[in-house]
């Protein structure tokens, strides 16, 4: 239904990610078959050949090819790559949104380069110090929104303070939670725990007017310990990837144990539907990507390892985000809120408490 909203076009970076272009294209094709209008950025000759191979009737779909012969690789240094990559699929995809030809970008490419290109071509929301990647972590009872999942590896305390406000406003906008509980990822739940940076942030958040619930251990991130989890991009990345690695390892162990005997082979066969459900629940690669918050338009950051089904989900997520105008609403609130902060003083909290309640 939403997908058929023919005013929405999504720009897809076809050449970014470990499985590009084939898996990205296969995902894009599925989304296009569901009626999504796409601008596919990549080397035109390669993409055309692949399209002809995978879906000979592709010209009947709402697909436009944007020739972008260059490719930013995963190992390229971001700033350099963007500066010298004006004809890359990643930069072209971002430019399409800047030009108003598309309303959102989906990329599984170099996330540092995506951050740089988005900041450069789309611009930050006024007052934002650093855009950050935010995404929901799966949980049994609830999902926590974690910010930053990897955009900013070196953070000053006021970047992190802003991430907390961004998380607060995003969860309020999207989840209709009046007072999202803000937790701080630390090496223990006790108030005295944390790096020097985390301890300073703890103090700021205590006086922020946010519903601050204190430190959260990484062990409890799936247990509804908070609605928003704040951390720097280095810690967020390590936490997310440790969880991914653990899921992968446990599924492999299950597979291995299941092969030990005829009985266990049988049991494993019978348990497949159960294992499949758990896998789906915990598989971040399928969860459709995270948002780059703090830039002027929707940017969906996918895992580098994304496959076709994750791409479909990310594109659907992009359409949803454009359709429900959550990013534009969020950006408006964020700009308004930041303008109301007299940020010359770190003790901003009590002055703009009323702002947060709006």
């Amino acid at each position: 239904l939403i997908a058929k909203d023919n005013l929405i076009s999504v720009a897809v970076d076809l050449m970014g990610g470990d499985n590009a272009p084939r898996e990205i294209l296969l995902g894009a094709l599925s989304a296009a078959k569901n009626g999504v209008s796409l601008l596919l950025c990549g080397d035109k000759s390669i993409i055309q050949a692949l399209l002809d191979e995978c879906c000979p009737e592709w010209s009947t779909l709402s697909i436009t090819l944007i020739d972008a012969p260059d490719r930013i690789k995963m190992e390229d240094e971001p700033v350099n790559a963007v500066m010298h990559g004006k004809n890359s699929s990643l930069v072209r995809a971002v430019q399409l949104v800047a030009q108003g030809r598309a309303q959102a970008i989906v990329s599984a490419g170099n996330s540092g380069a995506l951050l740089v290109a988005s900041t450069l071509y789309l611009g930050r929301v006024p007052g934002v110090l650093r855009p950050a990647i935010g995404g929901f972590l799966p949980g049994i009872t609830g999902s926590a929104f974690c910010i930053d999942l990897g955009a900013n590896v070196d953070c000053k305390v006021d970047y992190l303070e802003q991430f907390a406000y961004m998380g607060h406003l995003y969860v309020r906008t999207v989840c209709n939670v009046a007072q999202p509980r803000i937790g701080l990822i630390s090496n223990g739940h006790e108030a005295y725990k944390g790096s020097a940076l985390v301890k300073r942030l703890y103090k700021l958040l205590e006086g922020s007017g946010l519903c601050f619930v204190g430190n959260v251990e990484a062990r409890d991130i799936f247990d509804d310990a908070a609605d928003v989890l704040v951390c720097d991009g280095f810690v967020g990345n390590v936490m997310l990837k440790a969880a991914q690695g653990t899921v992968r390892t446990m599924l492999r162990l299950l597979e291995m144990e299941g092969k030990r005997s005829i009985v266990s082979r049988l049991v494993l066969g019978l348990s497949r539907p159960i294992v499949k459900k758990i896998k789906e629940k915990m598989d971040y690669a399928r969860s459709g990507g995270a948002l780059l918050l703090g830039v002027q338009h929707p940017v969906i950051v996918m895992h580098g390892s994304s496959r076709a089904d994750a791409v479909v989900q990310a594109i659907n997520f992009a359409v949803l985000v454009v359709h429900d105008q959550r990013v534009s609403q969020f950006n408006q609130m964020l700009a308004h809120f930041l303008a109301s902060c007299k940020k010359d003083n770190v003790q901003t909290g009590l002055d703009h408490e009323s702002e947060l309640m709006v």
Copy 2:
């Protein structure tokens, strides 16, 4: 066999940890029944009553009660707690080793306080800047030794460089690996990835003479990406706990999915032996504790949430460590190595390459 080595006594902090004193005592009793000689530190009247309740014949075991009526709590600030906790079970356990009455300490208590007390009463190995917690992460093909798992949340680059050397020497001593592969936990395997601190460390390790394999993503820590994983204590703690939380969440999901229907209930029942094996493999709480490296005697750091079976394993590990003299051998090599480093220059690598080969 080893356990009956009656020259070895282990000091146990009975009052430390979330499940103290009962679970710690139950674990200690099992170990004592296997012939280990123990010095149990805690409030004598409480412990005696518990002993009489749990094991009326306890006086036939090689158990000595050390009265330490005070208790350092998990939420206490470490330095203060140690300064004012001379009669605490934790400090008394450390002192017993300093006095030569025991050869190793086992504690599930406040790990910050354990670090402070160990540094204060046992002393650092000469040249060591900061003691660090090292432990093996379970893996399918191999186990990586991760250092630091939580002792030092704020690290200078030369602390981390030393952790790499400590990991190198420990794995060489214990695992008989001539050239352990040293990996650096980062937010991507690419060389340019990392926080400012990690990037500086990367450069140092490249010129270190160690077998440096570059950055390792947290996703790959169970996949034999390196023999030694280096990170600061904040990141190590978050990584380890994210993995623990994921294991716990997946097992819960399995339990929940298994209850959805009679068929899945049956399948889950049949899968129990398989699940049990995976649980054992991935359950860090059972894995017997990690070592505080860089102090003069063996200190076994357990998870705060440890239960009796983990305590047994930690005590057995303590006995093994004393018996095979790995800590004294390691300390000797470390002191020798550090003495040979002219540490006024960060480019220490090539000068002492030969040292590392000894």
